[in-house]
Symmetry: C2
Subunit: 385 residues, 2 copies
């Protein structure tokens, strides 16, 4: 096991009805900005629950944070925060609203031009406006971690940043809020959480037995519950298991003390930035191709994954690995998510441009060994056509 | 899954050499009291590492906190804290030192007679002196939770208390510090962590798949690594896995949103208080007897435990349950810990007195269903003779 520091201070309030306890986690005198996305929270009753819970508070609203939140939109919120002297940010939505809110929290108190936050990957953030969330889309784990991903329309960039200053103070997770999500969003969430887990699991063994077992527990849960969530949208237990899996998949726990990959995410980000595919769709395209391309470096973990997740114990090592990759692909397809570029109308002609973007972003040595060059990335994308 | 609130704000610094970073987690101007037990930390170099890391700090020492820390001893530390205006407590040791330090942290700022903290199970603690720990004995999980257990020599009581105010700010976990532990202490730690997990796992199903898989991951790790830890005391990876398992077993994570039992602990506490057996020894005696006595109420989870932990899939339900209980008993015995009262020279004649103590402490309806009466507890102890 590698050395690690793990800090998960976010207070989690989990379960049906927990939104009513918002007033126990936001200071009474706070000037609260409620941030949200396309407005579904106004149609499904979540905003009503939030406002009821915060009666007596000074409330402001900022809607319209888009999937893959843009710098351009977020800077409008930064202006509002500064103007109205907002001192608490409440994100109500999914990972995009949360990531956007984290950026706003840091940018509002940042003395330089805020895009510099992204250019420095958040490294020089020293303070942020306190924030919390009511999560309505289980997927990214952003509700309990220090990271965010921001896009810039004007340049076609999609990049991440991290800072302990933007870890949410609390996360309210009520599985009922997910009942009205479109199937595609649930599929996105399940696949995203699954691949977050894989990025921290499918590397090489460091004898970290707890982390491995926990990661496997999340993978098994997502495989069992994902397809059921599509079939039974109002089954509380299923939604609860998915919601809790997604939070646990990226709050630092399973990644503490183990190598991490993240090549799939870096390649996926470029596809979203250039072509607008959903984040999870890009991951479902890239991951099987990475698994295959890196089968030597990941051999031991691929075999463990094959055995413990898919019960593959017979045949040669390579046949078990092939079967595990096929099973992974089949799981994504079961979630309604095809795994080739061509399934999304892309013929691969943009691959050179995608590689050029990777290069611009300094992504020239990806993966847990830093051995995925731009040529390797190109081969991975070619194999995913 | 049941509703829950989970808050794990303790910052974990895990791995060899992390003690050197103590000065990053204790304020520079703090007046720090270092608390410890029998003094092994002065012989094995841990105290030297702590003092080196805290050069320039104003340091005080309080040693002699005993296993099953007593109110009588701890109140001497409370006096020292008040007298020297200590404003940070650093526990260096195992669960007893940690539990004692938590009590001291609350008692020093408590306006009433501090035993009242125990009488009210910590419910009216409103503040505590900040604390952190350097853990040298993986076992109790106290380094990352809100609880403690305190004994009172004068009355023969051993009782727990809880308060968010006493959650440690940080925990430094360096597996190397455990190399010099006596075998008996390692065995105690492994069995204690195993039974903490069982108290939160072996109840009845509430469709909490993540919690179940995480608990099973800890049980499997402890079963694999426990006996190896006895055989290879200086194997870093084994000690690291045990140390991390023990923390995860009782930091709230696996118990969030699921029923909990704790009958084994309540009965065990009385045996320790009356006869001085090690905490884990009492648990190893009581748990198999509880498993057998409550096999109807715990049937579904017992079968899941039999299958997923011991790979028992053949035969009648009751034969699988019998085999799982036998395997559990065998695991404890493998750790050098016998599972009957008679193995510790107790003939069972004190059982009525133990039941009387349980009654005095209000433990008349134990277990996840609250259906273990004093008569049931008596039968459980009789069966453990």
């Amino acid at each position: 096991m590698d050395n690690f520091v793990l800090h998960t201070p976010t207070k989690v309030l989990f379960g049906e009805g927990q939104i009513a306890h918002l007033n126990s986690v936001i200071p009474k005198q706070a000037r609260v900005l409620i941030l949200y996305g396309g407005g579904s929270i106004k149609r499904n009753g979540v905003m009503d629950q939030v406002q009821n819970a915060l009666k007596g508070y000074t409330l402001f609203e900022f809607g319209g944070i888009e999937p893959n939140p843009t710098y351009e939109t977020l800077m409008k919120a930064v202006e509002l925060v500064r103007q109205e002297k907002i001192d608490f940010l409440l994100a109500v939505g999914g990972g995009s609203v949360l990531d956007g809110t984290k950026f706003i929290a840091a940018a509002a108190l940042y003395t330089q031009e805020p895009w510099h936050i992204i250019e420095t990957t958040g490294g020089d953030i020293t303070q942020a406006i306190p924030l919390g969330s009511v999560l309505t889309l289980p997927a990214t784990g952003s509700e309990m971690n220090a990271g965010g991903v921001i896009s810039r329309k004007s340049t076609g960039d999609k990049q991440h940043f991290f800072s302990p200053s933007v870890i949410p103070q609390f996360a309210i997770l009520d599985p009922v809020t997910t009942y009205t999500l479109p199937q595609r969003q649930i599929a996105n969430g399940v696949v995203d959480a699954f691949i977050h887990t894989m990025e921290q699991y499918l590397t090489y063994p460091v004898d970290a037995k707890v982390q491995d077992r926990f990661a496997e527990g999340l993978l098994l849960t997502l495989i069992e519950e994902g397809p059921r969530a599509l079939a039974e949208p109002e089954n509380y237990a299923i939604r609860a298991n998915i919601m809790w899996s997604a939070t646990m998949a990226l709050n630092g726990l399973i990644g503490a003390g183990v190598p991490q990959d993240w090549a799939t995410h870096m390649l996926g980000h470029e596809i979203t930035a250039m072509h607008g595919l959903d984040h999870a769709q890009t991951l479902a395209i890239v991951l099987p191709s990475v698994m295959n391309a890196k089968r030597e470096q990941k051999r031991a973990k691929l075999l463990q994954y094959a055995e413990r997740i898919w019960n593959l114990r017979e045949g040669s090592e390579d046949s078990r690995i092939d079967a595990a990759i096929a099973a992974t692909r089949h799981f994504f397809e079961q979630m309604g998510m095809p795994t080739h570029l061509s399934d999304y109308g892309l013929d691969g002609s943009s691959i050179p441009a995608l590689i050029e973007k990777l290069k611009q972003h300094g992504m020239t040595a990806l993966g847990e060994h830093g051995d995925i060059t731009l040529q390797d990335s190109q081969r991975i994308l070619e194999a995913a056509r």
